[in-house]
Amino acid sequence: MNWTTHAGPPSVHALGLAAAGTALLCAAAILPLDAPPLSLLACPFRSATGWPCLTCGCTHAFAAFVRLRPLTALEANPLGAALALLCAVHSVWTALRLFGLRLAPASFSATPRIRAAAAALLLANWAFVALHGPR
């Protein structure tokens, strides 16, 4: 299976997603977690039920990731750590494509098996956050 494919310069959406990913990582690096605006973020699901939602802890995961503390990021929320890594990889790869790299990630079809596996991973992530995340 080929993980990469030959491609031209990055598309508009590749650039837009890279810009958004870079902005999120920069915000995680600059903004303190214990001051507004990040300290104002409250999860309505947790407020209503007492249980964390699927993405509770993602802000802490991003903050830990950009401070090069991958284990802390994974502990805060594995999905958040994976998303932060994805943002970083996509941003760097898109920048390289802007400067002449002619390889892009290969597209793949989301078969029912892949979708079921992704849903199971999300469920496992939620269970991890519910059991080990901050209460």
Partner: protein
């Protein structure tokens, strides 16, 4: 001539899972384009006005006409529309309605369980310096662009998970970009923002139905699932 039936294969890559791609090269565009996508012939002001009016009152027609290979134009429409009206709303609220809203928010803070949060919000909003206004004007388009792409990415992720991704990320992005049109209501302080957000979510569903050519149930599930699972 040869007697065999003509079989035209589907574009295999169109429904594949890629966040980075526009429409596959060479794919024919059958849609005429929204007024905003035809702004060269219509003029920018008329194109913008017609697009917003269609998005608000005839969304089915707008999304049927939308071309999914016009990502840059669609991003520009969303960023310009939301930025202008969001800044207008903030200015209106900041300079004209501040005493009234502060009294209302203080009342909520005394009654509700989010008193400390509301007090912090009031402290931030009480800064009326020119530096804050300039910072707000500079950061708003960036925040809108990031929100647009994060919204489209999350929606597309759920479209993929629920098996509703038929035409790729570009189709999801088209729906999300034009669904930002009701955010013109951000210019109305108070009730404008909540109405705009709900209207935008409904428009996203209508947009997904047309751009991905899926059923109304699948489109509704794709829009509602992130609100339920990802707060």
């Amino acid at each position: 001539m040869c007697g065999k039936p003509l079989v035209v294969p589907e574009q295999a890559s169109a429904a594949s899972t890629s966040f980075a791609g526009d429409v596959p090269a060479g794919a024919p565009a059958l849609e005429p384009g929204t007024p905003w996508e035809r702004r060269v012939e219509l003029g920018s002001w008329r194109a913008w006005r017609d697009t917003v009016v269609e998005a608000l009152f005839e969304p089915g027609r707008l999304f049927q006409d939308a071309r999914i290979d016009r990502g840059a134009a669609q991003a520009r429409f969303a960023v310009v529309t939301v930025t202008v009206f969001w800044i207008a709303g903030q200015m209106l609220e900041r300079f004209l309605l501040r005493p009234w809203t502060q009294r209302a928010v203080a009342g909520i803070a005394v009654r509700g369980q989010f008193g400390s949060v509301v007090q912090k919000l009031m402290q931030i909003e009480s800064d009326n310096s020119p530096r804050t206004a300039a910072l707000m004007a500079l950061l708003t388009p960036v925040v809108v662009l990031v929100t647009l792409y994060v919204n489209a990415a999350v929606t597309h992720l759920f479209a993929v998970l629920l098996g509703q991704n038929k035409r790729g990320f570009a189709a999801t992005f088209t729906a999300c970009a034009y669904a930002f049109a009701p955010l013109v209501l951000f210019a109305i302080p108070g009730c404008g923002a909540p109405i705009a957000v709900v209207w935008a979510a409904i428009l996203t569903g209508i947009g997904l139905k047309h751009t991905h050519r899926i059923g109304p149930g699948g489109a509704a599930a794709t829009v509602i699932a992130p609100y339920v699972l990802v707060c």
